[in-house]
Amino acid sequence: MSEAMTNAAAMPDDVLISIRNLKKYFPITAGWLRRKVGDVKAIDDVSLDIRKGETFGLVGESGSGKSTVARLMLRAYSLTEGQILFRQADGSVVDLSGLTDRQMRAMRREMQMIFQDPYSSLNPRMTLLELVGEPMVIHGVGTQAEIRDRVAELLQVVGLRPEFLNRYPHAFSGGQRQRIGIARALALNPSFIAADEAVSALDVSVAAQNINLLQDLQEKFGLTYLFITHDLGMVEHISDRVGVMYLGRLMEVAPTAQLFAKPLHPYTEALMAAVPQPDPRGNRTRKRVPLKGEIANAANPPPGCSFHPRCPYAQAKCATEVPALRTVTDGRQVRCHFAEELSLVGAMA
């Protein structure tokens, strides 16, 4: 793995995982020769750092590429270009982009994922013991008795009774299944967990319980989260910093409170304005201009800024020049030509 460690020096000490200029293109093929005629740029030049112990929220509409980023970080997809630097438990930094599948498998002890659908992500023919213990079996950790003890402990950690060991997932509700998924992700003591819409399918009261659980676990085990969701209220509640994605690109990155107080990108403003608030009087007075149209096709993105066809502030320059993701103030990045000139409205009352 030594050649993979060359870029270690470039990563600040407090960063756990850093992706640099990440690209993922899916080829478009045509004809019976399956010749390549173009690319779907699912992820186009995304760079971000996630610090140790923080929760980084990633928001955007469906098709913006937020799940693809998470999958690339764990190398569930192969990447087209870019680097994924990850700091291991012993402090050494590894570039995951250069690892073979076998080398990557060892790394996954430290990186895990929680999925949206607690119904399809758990094998219905496996008991909780088998489901939660499977990562340990795969990585050859512990004897049978040790695995059993560990699974019982994990079930307790996520608020399920250890007696449930021999039950099957069908006996549990959606919220409980989500907890089984969380226990499974925790089995190997990872440092990084990517939660892909982890509470989106749950009812209000169950979602709140599971969010609190995720926060407790973070404190207890010093976990770092990548939290992907389309629910802005949830992301504001749980994240320390937020990245806003649109059509495979990061449009804005900012500390949560600053982002919601004063967004710098028109797309962020539009997303916030679109969320219906549990406040009927506020909804009546708030002027809300819904964003026109739909997210563009990633196979045929608009020239210039990919958001310009829907942007209420677009100018001639936006249609021709692709804006760069640039740092405007401390810790705030934005991909908009006119970020400084616009005065956008946030979600704060």
């Binding site: 009812d203 709140a208 319980q209 802005l232 549990p278 997210i295 009352a349």
Partner: protein, 349 residues
């Protein structure tokens, strides 16, 4: 049409729909599930009634009872559903069987319905236009050409771009938001007096959701139809509803104007649900207040008030013994023993 009750009308003139003590049961191997356990509500002409509740609360099954589209194994266990569309005739829907001539006149003509997932609700092998035309031809007796004209007008009305082309498109050729618009066009094709919308925006992105909510609001005022809007999202209900009913375990626990539900809730379940939603720009506190425990399984509904084991105000010796009565405060109804207390407390605020 012999089932139609034309005798003494008990409904006030403004009434469109009235449910009285509706019961729907499911006999299962494990016992009897009272999915809808004595639900009463009404809808006046031209108003939007929001129904909120967690999964399994019976909100969708109640809507299906109105449409007489209950699953085959469901048992209609009593109650009365009266419906009087703007044409003036009165239907006792609870007396109609699912295939009767009378209900087929009501369904799709006087009552339109839209669902969460348009892809499963629309036929995949017929064009959007064909599906709308069939409904129009059946209920309005128009010829092919006239029906096609009307279908194109309807698609324009729901703001689908290029209606003349999309009338010949299949559902799979449209995006999620466009499909939802097509389904709305189908539902309003015969100028219904009532539209039942069952989680129509749950599967959509926030920006598309905002567009669909605005569309429904403008159609509602333009066509003067009433809407029953079923959702688990309090933000959405605050945005669209005039009055709101909150359901828990097959019962309505509270009904009030949208402002009273959000600013003066008088049932502990409503209060707890409202507290457990992360609100945009309001609270970035570390923990969400949650409702302890989980929704009990439908085979063992607690005695007395079904919410008592999870209620922070529960009074031992009262709440788990006696069924709470419906208490009324002007237009507000709360099914809670101590609702008066909340009414007094709020008076001091």
């Amino acid at each position: 049409m012999g089932n139609k009750t034309m005798t003494t009308s008990i409904m006030p003139p403004a009434r469109l729909l009235e449910l009285d003590n509706v019961q729907v049961h499911f006999p299962m191997r494990e016992g009897l599930v009272k999915a809808v356990n004595g639900v009463s509500y009404h809808v006046d002409k031209g108003e939007v009634l929001g129904i909120v509740g967690e999964s399994g609360s019976g909100k969708s099954i109640t809507a299906r009872a109105i449409m007489r589209l209950l699953p085959k194994r469901a048992v209609d266990a009593g109650g009365q559903i009266l419906f009087r569309p703007r044409t003036g005739e009165e239907f006792e829907l609870s007396q109609l069987s699912r295939n009767s001539r009378a209900i087929r006149q009501v369904r799709g003509h006087h009552i339109g319905m839209i669902f969460q997932e348009p892809m499963t609700a629309l036929s995949p092998v017929h064009t959007i236009g064909t599906q709308i035309m069939r409904t129009i031809q059946l209920h309005m007796g128009l010829g092919r050409a006239a029906a096609r004209e009307r279908a194109i007008d309807l698609l324009a009305k729901v703001q689908l771009p290029r209606p003349k082309e999309l009338v010949d498109a299949y559902p799979h050729q449209l995006s999620g938001g466009m499909r939802q618009r097509a389904m709305i066009a189908l539902a309003i094709s015969c100028d219904p007096s009532l539209l039942i919308a069952d989680e129509p925006t749950t599967a959509l992105d926030v920006t598309t959701e905002a567009q669909i909510l605005d569309l429904l609001k403008s159609l509602q005022s333009e066509l003067g139809m009433a809407i029953i809007f079923i959702t688990h999202n309090f933000g959405v209900v605050a945005d669209i509803a005039d009055r709101v009913s909150v359901m828990y375990l097959g019962r309505i626990v509270e009904t009030a104007s949208v402002d009273d539900i959000f600013y003066a809730p008088k049932h502990p379940y409503t209060q707890a649900l409202l507290r457990s939603i992360p609100r945009l720009g309001v609270d970035q506190g570390r923990r969400l207040p949650t409702i302890p425990g989980m929704v009990p399984d439908p085979f063992s509904v607690p005695s007395g008030c079904a919410f008592n084991p999870r209620c922070s105000h529960a009074i031992t010796g009262l709440c788990e013994v006696q069924d709470p009565p419906e208490k009324r405060f002007n237009g507000q109804m709360s099914r809670c023993h101590i609702a008066d207390r909340f009414a007094q407390e709020l008076a001091h605020v």
